[in-house]
């Protein structure tokens, strides 16, 4: 069986501190507007009025998402230049020397992983800190998480050991790209799906 590296994310542990996002930006010196890892805040629910008392029935949870290094990377399939490739360990990389900046992969990726760098005129995305991986170290985001909500490893083992899923609201249908991610959902994730809860920090991510 071929190897597929993947991220693990425990949504029930995440406090939304965004240390992972900042560690990624810091390590890769990303410009303003470029966020290879993003923390989405999903909020929903309502307040119930009983006389003069208000009872909250609200919920909120976070999803820390980067490139999922999908098993069926739609970005690689649509890229005309062949700049996007998948390594033997499953990491999806962009060769900026080939990218012509047509931004077509940006349309195709349902996770918003591909981001355009105005300075270089090419697409960029999370590359799993392959330099660290090759030296036996974890990616910057995993190292930075104070809650240990982020981890990485072989996808099949992560799914087996952590009972992770790749289908959590508001992530897209996983059959589109077969993302290499294992998520332990927050307790309110099902409710959020039923109530079609939205992303509260849309402008930020």
């Amino acid at each position: 069986m071929t190897k597929q590296l993947a991220f693990y994310f425990d949504s029930s542990r995440c406090s939304g501190c965004k240390a992972c996002q900042m560690a990624c930006k810091d390590k890769h010196d990303l410009e303003v507007g470029l966020n290879w890892r993003r923390v989405y805040e999903i909020c929903g629910g309502h307040w119930e009025n009983q006389g003069s008392a208000w009872t909250p029935h609200v919920f909120a949870y976070n999803l820390s998402i980067a490139c999922n290094h999908c098993a069926k990377p739609v970005c690689r399939d649509v890229c005309p230049t062949g700049a996007i490739t998948k390594r033997k360990d499953g990491i999806v990389l962009i060769d900026t020397d080939k990218c012509m900046g047509c931004r077509y992969c940006e349309w195709a990726c349902p996770y918003g992983a591909l981001q355009f760098d105005k300075t270089s005129g090419t697409m960029t995305k999370c590359h799993f800190c392959y330099d660290s991986i090759d030296n036996g170290k974890p990616p910057a985001c995993v190292s930075a998480c104070p809650q240990r909500a982020l981890d990485f490893g072989e996808l099949s083992e992560l799914k087996k050991n952590c009972h992770g899923t790749d289908s959590v609201h508001p992530l897209p249908d996983p059959t589109l790209t077969e993302p290499a991610i294992a998520i332990t959902p927050h307790k309110d994730a099902d409710r959020a799906k039923k109530e079609k809860a939205g992303i509260a920090n849309r402008q930020e991510v």
Binding site: C79, G82, E106, P172
Partner: protein, 323 residues
Amino acid sequence: MPTGRKRKKRGSQTDRKSNVPENAWSLLVFTLLSQISVGAFCVAEILNFSHSQEFGKKGLHFFRLYSRLFVLASAVLAGISAIFHLHKWVNAYHAFNNFRTSWVSKEMVFFLLFMFCVALLASMSWQKIDRKHIQQVFVMAGLLCGIALVYSMAKIYMLPTVPTWDAWTTPGLFSTAVLILGSLAVACMCQALLGSTKSSFLTEKIRDRWSRKTLPALVKVVMFFLVIGILISGFFAYRLMTVDAAGSGASMMGPGKQILLFFRIFFFILGWIFLVFYLKKLRIEEDIQGKFRGLLYSAFIFLAFAEISGRYLFYVSFFRTGL
């Protein structure tokens, strides 16, 4: 305390999810001109084949030459405008690398092959090389590449992650644009030749033939596909109203899109009215001097506006599913 420093604008989610693509004008010019060139090539070569006897040797030569030069010029302009869409155009030569899975690569390959066929045919006409079999082979190759080009162009937008575009209406909109603008471009070219003082090669017989049969037939083809185009636009608008792309149940047919749809239908109807007047004029008196050309040119401009507003409506309806 406010520092007075201006904050750099952040790349918001709307940049990535629901906006018109950057440099949309270059995409628009590329799509429209390449569709006009493919449509005009198909229609002109069908006319070349079916009317070769009636056009006469001289008439046929000039019709071929002008139609092929027009198609080539449109295709070259389309190619140039496509470059402006790229942010790192020095890497554009890599665009053919992923022919196996990428529809953009396929589009580029078929576009270049189509241009090659048209350039070869135009140079053969220019040099007066009348090798019938070679011409037929390249005409067939050009037709196939042109059809493949339009199909690839539509497939580029039919992404499973963009539910508003991933439907039969996308190839429907693209092929009606090819047939409407292509047929009308050839009709305008015939009309321009009729009106030109330098077209002494057109005999009375050819002028009469074009005025009585060729031009009305072309205009009727355009009017037929106009009806199809209006119907497909309606289906597209209906899809925008019903598809739950955002997953929130909200309609994708906001006021801005309604205005663009209105402009598209309005210009379609205006073009239709001008074509009806043109046909009526042709029925009353034959137009061997091309004096009714204003009506036909106006119809072309209105229908080009209809396609431009339709294409903008298409772009603004972009909505990627997921995050």
